[in-house]
Amino acid sequence: MLRPQRPILTVSMAPHVHCGRTIKGHMGETIIALMPAMVMAAMVFGMDAVRVMALSCAVAVTTEALCNRLAGRDPAVDDLHALLTGLLFACLLPASAPWWLVTVGSASSIGLGKAIFGGLGATPLCPPLVGWAVCRISWPKAMDTNTTMLGTTLPDPLQQLKFFGTDAVASLDPMALFTGHQLGGLGAVHIAALLAGGVFLLIRRHIAWEVPVAFIAGLLCTAWIYQLLDPAAHAAPLLHLLTGSAVFGAFFLATDPASSPIGRIPSLIYGLMAGVMVIIIRVYSIYPDGVPFAILLANLFTPLLDRIRPRPFGGPYTLTQEKEDQATCVKHCG
């Protein structure tokens, strides 16, 4: 029966049509969503911010290529995930970050955050946050805008809140905070630009609404409860939302596809947990901004939350093991 067939057909399994989306497109559009914040960072912090972003991206892509080579995989830098990870990490850094800090952080984002767990899709934690946590714990001074950015007139509301109390931040104009007139991560403080990017991601359906909405709701509610308990000691909910990397975390970090849960209810719980944790960390811990740690902690709950599932179609079912006896033999072999 073997004879050359003309024409030779391609055989592939159903479905034979596709929505046309790719991983590269997903990553590319997330980078586009970050564009406004990047432009704002360049405008507010100048070439320093551009330097940090460029270095972080370059190191991330190089590390990814190296890790792929070490693991004997096909190079996967063209899916843009490494570039996006480098960019997200840079957005969390102060514009004053020295080159070695950027290099170490960006390399550990990819190496420790992604490659060590098996690459794309296998990351239990949001990769840029792993790099951030390494830097924040190892070199707290270099990550601190209080000690490195003395030459600026911009306020750092969360530092002031932590060390000088609510009076120090009472005079801050929410509108100015909204447009990014504050210190913090170089990309994470441009709330308006990030919101625009987040809405773009939501419209393009790259992220689902559950995580950002639950995150912001959890953050606002917890802050509101604390303010009710003691208005003198705790800042207003709006201030908590408009400072630090709250909005950045809600739209870009907590929604990381691999490390966030999948279903609707798990996503809502996950977002709420992260949002609540932000305020708890901001109130009680030594770290002014609780967002990265809050999201890392929520990431750890993802496998647990993914167990909350709706009832499968037709109910749960397990194929029973047939006995290896004569009757089965006759049934299958005739």
Binding site: M13, P316, Y317, L319
Partner: protein, 406 residues
């Protein structure tokens, strides 16, 4: 690729066109046992292979000579006209009628006694409109099929399920249920749910209900009318519905529709979401083939062997509320028993997960592979002719579950 729509609206469909006579037929055998061999002469309607189960026997669609027989197909070179004598239908109902229908090539697996009969008139997939001309122009035959089915099923209630916006004239004393005209609402498990409200595990018969499509009724009616076995199928080809002989090569149908196939093209028997790919253009259509599509190399979706991103898009779109992504990850690493914890048996194989997968993974293929391997695993049968050292093959992968689940 992106102009594909999930809409099941069929609009205006033309009349049912009768296909021309191909000079060669490749009749597919699905577990059928051939009763004739190479070189035998057959008439149209001669029994050529017996079904192993209730699928229905296979008969020669046209008169001719059997040129080749293998496990999967029987090649018949058609010669001249010549038809086997029609047979008289039994006057009894119930099991006698059921067995007779089976011998006439009807798939009688769904035919059981049940209080409810559901007639599915929803297109199974986008772009397939086979039910429309049958309901409209062959009303008498369909009604006869319904009466015959009643003699076996003995139902007391009748439902007709149609897509909202498509034309469907009700039968006598039946309830019409409309479903939204969106794929996958035409698939049997979802149609049953739309009527009874209960969910049946895919691949099982619903409790207290029987589901038949308009096409099934039409062919039962045809058998009763003519006394000749079913050797045809209805296919939507390029928007036109055709009555095609089983075994007609795909290439013949393409040529008839005025198309052409080039190297690297995909020829799909069935719809674009669930259809099976033809291995070559000589492959014959089967009794349950509903359509024919040709996709050029650039338009067709070819999955890639990439990692799962974990974005959850498949899970959000899944009508069976399962996690195709996790199932595919388990199947990828041969952890087939573990796919059951993600409820693989609930999958209705609609292909929607693969359509939306950003990583372009062959999700449906992984699911089918895992189902197949699970069936092997659980049947625990070592075929008698397997050499001793090869026995491990029938129980792959999951011999050390502790290690896999760690």
């Amino acid at each position: 690729m992106t102009d594909f729509s999930f809409s099941l609206l069929t609009g205006e469909t033309g009349p049912l066109v009768k296909g021309a006579r191909p000079d060669r037929l490749r009749v597919p055998l699905q577990g059928h046992r051939p009763v004739l061999a190479e070189g035998d002469q057959v008439l149209a309607g001669t029994l050529i292979a017996e079904a192993g189960d209730d699928r229905g026997d296979m008969h020669a669609p046209l008169a001719g000579t059997i040129r080749a027989v293998d496990r999967f197909a029987m090649l018949i070179e058609t010669t001249d006209d010549g038809r086997a004598e029609p047979q008289a239908a039994p006057s009894e109902g119930g099991d006698i009628l059921r067995r007779w229908l089976r011998s006439m090539g009807i798939d009688v697996r769904p035919l059981r006694r049940a209080p409810v009969l559901i007639v599915n008139a929803v297109p199974p997939e986008p772009g397939i409109s086979i039910h429309d001309p049958l309901l409209r122009d062959y009303r008498k035959t369909v009604d006869l099929g319904l009466d015959t089915a009643r003699r076996v099923i003995d139902h007391s209630r009748l439902f007709l399920v149609a897509a909202r916006g498509n034309r469907a004239n009700a039968f006598a004393d039946c309830t019409v249920v409309h479903v939204p005209p969106v794929y996958p609402n035409g698939l049997d498990p979802l149609v049953v749910r739309a009527v009874t409200g209960g969910e049946t595990l895919p691949g099982r018969h619903p409790d207290n209900a029987v589901i038949l499509s308009v096409r099934d009724l039409y062919f039962i009616g045809r058998v009763m009318e003519t006394g000749r076995p079913v050797t045809q199928t209805v296919m939507t080809i390029a928007g036109q519905n055709r009555l095609v002989h089983v075994g007609t090569p795909a290439g013949f149908l393409v040529a008839e529709a005025g198309g052409g196939v080039e190297d690297g093209d995909h020829v799909i028997l069935g719809g674009l979401m669930r259809g099976i790919p033809a291995l070559n253009i000589d492959q014959g259509v089967d009794k349950d083939t509903t359509g024919l599509h040709i996709l050029s190399k650039t338009r067709a979706f070819v999955p890639v062997d990439g990692p799962c991103l974990g974005c959850g898009e498949c899970e959000r779109r899944c009508p069976a509320r399962i996690m195709p992504g996790m199932i595919s990850r388990c199947a990828e690493f041969k952890q087939f028993a573990r796919t059951e914890t993600f409820h693989i048996h609930s999958c209705i194989e609609c292909g929607i997960c693969g359509y939306w997968c950003k990583a372009r993974r062959p999700l449906l293929q992984y699911i089918r592979l895992a189902k197949y391997e699970l069936a092997l695993l659980r049947s625990a049968i070592v075929p008698a002719d397997t050499p001793a050292n090869d026995q491990g093959r029938s129980r792959p992968a999951d011999t050390r579950p502790e290690k896999n689940d760690a």
